[in-house]
């Protein structure tokens, strides 16, 4: 087991999360479970981005004081060893946007329940058809 194997199985985990999320959105009857499916797809996308920036055997991209005092060419060495940190900014934004989207979806769910008195998609569409 080495680092690139971790990367591969992390991609597999992200793919499973997205597959389960799409399944939950399409086939689950309850609206809250559909919203959890939306959340799972977002988590899968975040995990893909983070795994893309992962470097096997690397270090966290933070310069500690010990690392800074070690040697003169430290920044080159740091850039060689540190994991790729552009996806982190994307994922941080995506996590916060995902939380806001989830809050809006849950608010709409509460209003939907007050109107139809049910959370089942089957019930809601049956009532609308009549």
């Amino acid at each position: 087991m080495n680092g690139s194997e971790v990367q591969f199985w992390s991609f597999v985990t992200a793919a499973l999360l997205m597959i389960i999320g799409i399944y939950a959105i399409i086939f689950m009857d309850n609206i809250i479970k559909k919203i959890i499916g939306v959340m799972l797809i977002g988590d899968g996308v975040n995990l893909v981005l983070i795994t893309e920036g992962f470097k096997p055997g690397g270090i966290v991209p933070i310069i500690s004081e010990k690392l800074y005092n070690q040697s003169p060419g430290i920044f080159q060495e740091f850039a060689d060893q540190a994991s790729y940190s552009l996806p982190f900014a994307l994922v941080l934004t995506n996590i916060v946007i995902g939380a806001s989207t989830l809050a809006v979806l849950l608010g709409i769910t509460i209003k939907l329940y007050q109107h139809y008195n049910s959370l089942s998609v089957h019930e809601i569409f049956k009532e609308e058809k009549i």
Partner: protein, 78 residues
């Protein structure tokens, strides 16, 4: 190395377990475990700042929001 695989198993298993529950409060609690496992996996994948944010949001705030929604609507799945 074994920690990552355990965390991946926890993430996928808790996702599947959360979606098959009939009681929605159990779903909320198990989704909290999924967010916590994801945060620890981010830490192991060398993304420390993302791990901190995910630990706060994924294991406390989002399950809290879903729990408030469940309390305001119906708890059991019909």
């Amino acid at each position: 190395m074994i920690i990552e695989f355990v965390l991946m198993f926890v993430i996928v298993a808790s996702t599947l377990l959360a979606l098959v529950q009939k009681d929605l409060m159990r779903t909320v609690i198990i989704i909290g475990f999924q967010g916590l496992g994801l945060a620890l996996l981010y830490q192991r994948l060398l993304a420390a700042d993302v791990a901190v944010t995910q630990a706060i949001l994924g294991s406390a705030l989002l399950p809290g929001l879903i729990a408030v929604t469940v309390f305001k609507t119906r708890r059991s799945q019909e």
